[in-house]
Assembly symmetry: C2
Homo-oligomer: 156 residues x 2
């Protein structure tokens, strides 16, 4: 048995401008908070059993005892949302831009077989990849299934 189950229950992101982030996700994208504590944190459920938390940056760092570091946004990560078609990539990216997101790469073919994607930065600095990936699916039981990927190619 593994000492730690293979589950992430919370992904918590340092959030320099909590109100801007709330405006983007709640007002702009229509997401429903699981819990919203003004000035502190907003939680969204983003998978069965898993929650994304946007935690006010100064409090985030205090919580970790990192008060010597500047209160910055997250870096070195991306979040991805997959959709069912290339057209849907375009419409989601348009909706995110309309909601205040910054489009970093317009919808285009990716480096490997069949993926079509774009990158959008939220007001908090988090980079989202919006993708149509014909080689990816989620089975009825929640299992993620990858199709055949070319072994030598970049995977994103």
């Amino acid at each position: 048995m593994n000492p730690i189950g293979q589950n992430v229950h919370f992904i918590t992101l340092s959030t320099p401008d909590l109100q801007a982030a709330r405006d983007f996700y709640v007002r702009g994208l229509g997401w429903e908070p699981l819990l919203d504590v003004p000035g502190e944190i907003v939680f969204f459920q983003i998978a069965p059993g898993t929650v994304l938390g946007l935690f006010e940056a100064v409090k985030f760092q205090q919580d970790l005892g990192l008060d010597r570091e500047a209160a910055a946004g997250p870096s070195g990560l991306t979040l991805a949302h997959n959709v069912g078609s290339r057209a849907e990539v375009r419409s989601v990216v348009a909706a995110m831009e309309e909601a205040g997101g910054q489009v970093l790469t317009r919808p285009e073919d990716g480096a490997f077989g069949g993926i079509f994607h774009a990158h959008v930065r939220d007001p908090n600095g988090v980079i989202w990849e919006i993708a149509h990936n014909p080689g990816w699916r989620v089975a009825q039981d929640g299992a993620v299934v990858f199709g055949d990927l070319p072994p030598d190619d970049s995977v994103s």
Copy 2:
């Protein structure tokens, strides 16, 4: 209808030392990769429909067109894993330390009602919170349920 469904399908982390990360999660913690592409990326399923990807740092940045920035590890985020008891917090933290994790805060009571937690940094710089939180549970259908939280207190 929301323009973008409330789901995160991939969480991808910039990984300066992919082999060290693989050793930690696979050899140290016994996690099973969904897909492992040497020198590129390791994927782990961490919730129904959701995958954590450890993406080699230079390739991560090239993929985003960020090659002007130094290839760094992720910052400004934490991942959390919740367990069923205070004893289990201790045993998971011990296992992570044994696997090469760096314990930042030893298991202790948190700032609000009943939570008992510790923080461990993985070889990639990702900070995990290991917590027993009696106010949190996952319902049979995957819905996350929070109990009553004191309104004035810090939430982690």
